[in-house]
Symmetry: C2
Subunit: 219 residues, 2 copies
Amino acid sequence: MEIKVKKNVLGKNDRLAAEIRKYLSEKGIFAINLISSPGAGKTTILEETCARLKDKLGIAVVEGDITTTRDADRIARHGVPVHQIETQGACHLDARMLENALEHLDLDKVDLLIIENVGNLVCPATFDLGEDAKIVVLSVPEGDDKPAKYPGIFRRAKVLLLNKIDLLEISGFDKEKALRDLAEINPDITVFETSATKGTGMDEWCQWLADRVAEKKKK
Amino acid sequence: MEIKVKKNVLGKNDRLAAEIRKYLSEKGIFAINLISSPGAGKTTILEETCARLKDKLGIAVVEGDITTTRDADRIARHGVPVHQIETQGACHLDARMLENALEHLDLDKVDLLIIENVGNLVCPATFDLGEDAKIVVLSVPEGDDKPAKYPGIFRRAKVLLLNKIDLLEISGFDKEKALRDLAEINPDITVFETSATKGTGMDEWCQWLADRVAEKKKK
């Protein structure tokens, strides 16, 4: 019973996500869905991304949090339009929540839509929001076994941001092992080594984003 | 529809959890449910706990993982009975999974049952397993805003293990702020500052566990 209902809910979610994808594509907007464990650095990455790209591209942000508007407040300080979704206990964003959020944003001048999901490496992976790319953030202190242990999100992501790379040594993180496991799960994934607080790798990551936005405009 | 089904599922789960709680209590077993984000250090804490207590207490471990038996293998090396639950995609353990796992363990000589949940700060909080205490692990690199942003688990936990405390300075973690938020959410929670890899705080934590086991035996 539970499984059947979950399938129905996911089917409904997928149909709405497909509509959102079509709508955003018609507007020429490239959309990413940023997913990680709590505290991997999503919001800091987002702040650094906004700081680097906001004068070059039209950016809008949707912030998903179970409660509090702390992350949205951090983004708003960069002068980027942001809408907060408080999920009231739900462990992931779904397409319906995103649809409601998009009604609060003026998308006419937007080239890049960034959706920050709830901090959770599991559930957000299975809910399509209509994004062009899922971006997974893994922070080094979480450990090198995470791709093998949580393959769902690593399989579905287009990009891995291996964040807090400055803590590699102190964390005893075996990068070769993590990347070997990752290559088995998803050989096509693009990896950027980043430290959002130190700025490492952020220019390369922002260039990747700018290239995708340019591709989307050409279509 | 979804919400009603979820309520029914939770109701069913709660009834089974109550049965498990009664069964474990009759055997004089103290049971904990260890919950955290991926990579906060649950398995290392568990290894260090087993190493310190296995000659003093009868310990059994149930390991929850979405996939792989890596964590169970790490525990088995300590000579402690362990049963692995692979949740096959599910983001949390439920009482039914635990009931099945308990059938694989000889509980007659067990004083302390440790259940390591799936790495997820959200969903495991709402599924009662029949444990005596939920123990939440927050690792310092995850950031000082986590109690306020994920209040569900911090409200329900009896103990917080503030782990990777050796990374306090490098992570810029504001301990006063985190503990202030925590006190608002759950003034009764007991906090241990730990570094499982360095051994910090592990004796105090193990003493707390041993005291609870002794209390349970008296009842």
